[in-house]
């Protein structure tokens, strides 16, 4: 089997393209947006934030590398041309104010002078080898920050040099290193971007889901004709195309439903006309049969005429049922239920049928209680049910010569009406197939009125229980035990 080709849709404006756009933006986020935001932050920080909110510690805290280095070189410049005693005094002062810093200086004669506390182990004179040893011990081996400045900040003066050193642990981070506040802001930006991505994806799918749900509800909701309403199409993407296809389908369904109804209407009209047209000649035939019976005939002829008359009766009943069914199912008669005494209707109906039963030699066993039994039914329709049942009994249960009408208490406590005969049962159908449409009418009427008709037909007879469908499925229930 050939694989069905999917319809090609335009890429622009499709769901695919929109989702791809979101993914691409998300991918760009890592190599481009991330550094860009970093740089952007730095620019903003240096231009705006620092000016507006300078870090308060920057001035007051002397223990930053920048401050110490600057201070040391300024001091060295200021000490230009001073006597070693004066230099001693100044460094002593500085040592006092920067207690965490160790300071010493080496004069022109390479003598090491330590005016302050003198915590450092230093040689008396500063040889080239001492410099190396110092470097080894303090600058490299230990994590010390040190600044060396020539006195007068110029090596050529040859006044010696001054050294300060401090443990790195005593220093504040600063300069290019980030403070906790900075990193918080930066982390916030990343988090914001991440949440933004999630939110955009979320909205994308929520929107898609909402539209799909709208489509689903549009498919299940029905209008009066039993068809869904068309959907208003807002976008031309895949879902939009689906909605478009759905609208097309609704249109076609509506069209075929309309056609089907027209055909059914036509068929019903045809049946109605046909049965009407059949009846007029049938009346004429009957009139002639009747007139013929008055003529001089042999016994055989009389017998044949009698048979013809019976069959004419059956035929007219059949046409009547056909037309009734047609009319009922076309919904031409609205059910008008009212609270009425069914037993009264049964009695009245039986009264109308009684002469016929008598004529046919039926034993009518009617025993209905005096107390009324109220059901919510349409009396006209209920009479029609009884008429059909009684007619069936006369036609198809002639051999039993019995019709019974009783009230029966059901296990559920309800009262049912029992119509029984002693014919050969529906399966035998007394060689006459006319019962089908009659039962169809009865079933239809019963169902519409919410009544159950339990038909139990055996070769010994047929029992039909009629009761209100309390919780059970209304309609005709056949239990043929042929």
């Amino acid at each position: 089997m050939r694989k069905k080709k999917l319809p090609q849709s335009r890429f622009r404006g499709s769901l695919l393209s929109r989702y791809l756009l979101i993914i691409v933006i998300a991918l760009l986020f890592i190599p481009v947006v991330f550094p860009a935001s970093l740089i952007g932050y730095q620019v903003v920080q240096s231009m705006v934030v620092d000016n507006m909110f300078p870090e308060p510690e920057a001035k007051n805290d002397p223990y930053t590398t920048m401050h110490l280095e600057k201070m040391w070189h300024q001091e060295a410049k200021r000490l230009k041309g001073n006597t070693p005693e004066m230099i001693d005094a100044r460094i002593g002062e500085l040592q006092a104010s920067y207690s965490k810093v160790d300071m010493f200086w080496v004069d022109a004669k390479s003598r090491v002078r330590q005016p302050g506390t003198g915590k450092l182990k230093l040689p008396q004179t500063w040889e080239a080898a001492d410099a190396v040893a110092y470097m080894k011990r303090y600058r490299e081996a230990t994590q010390q920050f040190s600044v060396i400045a020539f006195i007068g900040d110029d090596q050529k003066l040859n006044q010696g040099f001054m050294v300060m050193q401090v443990s790195r642990s005593e220093l504040r981070t600063g300069g290019y290193e980030m403070s906790a506040r900075t990193s918080m802001i930066f982390f916030g930006i990343i988090l914001f971007m991440f949440l933004l991505f999630i939110a955009v994806s979320w909205m994308f799918f929520v929107n898609m889901r909402r539209r799909l749900l709208r489509l689903q509800s549009a498919m299940t909701v029905q209008d009066g004709r039993g068809l869904p309403d068309p959907i208003l199409i807002r976008k031309t993407d895949e879902i939009g195309q689906l909605e478009h296809a759905f609208n097309g389908m609704v249109d076609r369904l509506g069209g075929s439903l309309k056609r089907e109804r027209e055909e059914a209407e036509l068929r019903k009209r045809l049946i109605a006309n046909l049965s009407h047209d059949l009846r007029t000649p049938l009346t004429v035939i009957r009139s002639h049969v009747y007139s013929l019976q008055k003529e001089q005939l042999s016994d055989k002829g009389r017998q044949l005429l009698k048979l013809t008359e019976t069959k004419l009766g059956d035929l007219s009943g059949l046409i009547d049922n056909l037309l009734s069914y047609n009319l009922l199912t076309s919904g031409k008669y609205t059910l008008e239920p009212e609270r009425c005494d069914v037993l009264r209707i049964v009695r009245e109906s039986a009264a109308a049928w009684y002469p016929l039963w008598e004529k046919e030699g039926f034993e009518a066993d009617i025993d209905l209680p005096e107390e009324p039994l109220f059901w919510i039914i349409d009396p006209q329709w209920f009479r029609r049910i009884l008429d059909n049942l009684f007619q069936n009994a006369v036609r198809h249960a002639r051999s039993g010569q019995y019709i019974g009408l009783h009230a029966r208490a059901l296990p559920s406590g309800q009262t049912a009406i029992l119509v029984s005969d002693k014919g050969k049962g529906m399966a035998a159908s007394s060689g006459d197939k006319g019962a089908g449409i009659g039962l169809a009418i009865v079933g239809f009427l019963a169902r519409e009125m919410g009544l159950v008709m339990d038909v139990n037909s055996t070769t010994q007879g047929t029992n039909i229980l009629i009761y209100q469908a309390a919780g059970t499925e209304p309609g005709l229930k056949l239990a043929n035990k042929a």
Binding site: Y290, D320, L323, R347, A351, I366, Q380
Partner: protein
């Protein structure tokens, strides 16, 4: 002079046949093939037999016009349509209803019942077993004794009601509502009491009634 009937039927074959049949039964029949002049022709008639399917004015329209002009004139509808179809529409003005194809005896029986119901009794006495009933004079004579049977008002009304529906079985609700004009109340024994007294007067043997027959489980009937 028989009773005058108006018969409206467009189908020539059926019309001829019914016309002849009714005439053979002693009725005087005016047969129209359309409903156009029905109202003017109905004057003096005691009953109208009306076909539903007519050219021009349909049977329902004709029937409604007739009923408007002569509210007491009984109308019997003849129809080729189905019973429920017309029963709902037609019986709003029609007094009875016969579907085609009908048996002429059935039609004759219905006509008789309708005439009786509308009070068009013949001057001939009605003979029921040992009774002669002079309906016009409201007189009942016992043939065995030659004495007149005197009934109370309600007894007479019940008896006439049964006679108007001669041969028909009537339920106790129908009789009660027909005679008293009130809706029947459940368990009301009034009617049974009246019928017992009525039987004591009209029956030869009230324990085995022959005139007013009890149809077990259904109601009462006076057979012709």
């Amino acid at each position: 002079m028989g009773i005058h009937l108006l018969y409206i039927e467009d189908d020539a074959e059926i019309g001829t046949w019914v016309n002849e049949d009714l005439k053979s039964r002693g009725y005087e029949v005016t047969w129209l093939q359309s409903g156009e002049r029905a109202v003017e022709k109905a004057a003096g008639c005691r009953l109208v037999i009306l076909d539903v399917m007519l050219p021009g004015l349909d049977g329902f329209t004709v029937g409604q016009r007739l009923k408007k002009a002569y509210p007491d004139l009984p109308i019997l509808m003849l129809s080729a349509r189905t019973s429920i179809d017309d029963k709902l529409e037609g019986l709003q003005f029609a007094d009875d209803y016969v579907t085609k194809p009908f048996h002429p005896d059935e039609l004759a029986a219905r006509i008789e019942v309708l005439l009786r119901r509308s009070g068009s009794f013949s001057s001939e006495p009605l003979t029921l077993k040992h009774l002669h009933v002079y309906e016009r004079e409201n007189r009942i004579v016992n043939n065995d004794t030659g004495e007149e049977i005197l009934l109370t008002g309600k007894q007479f009304q019940i008896f006439t009601y049964l006679l108007r529906h001669l041969g028909q079985i009537l339920t106790k609700e129908q009789i009660y509502e027909g005679v008293w004009g009130d809706p029947y109340l459940d368990g009301d024994k009034t009617l049974m009491v009246h019928i017992r007294y009525l039987r004591e007067k009209v029956e030869r043997d009230p324990a085995n009634p022959e005139i007013i027959e009890t149809v077990r489980g259904v109601g009462y009937r006076v057979k012709a």
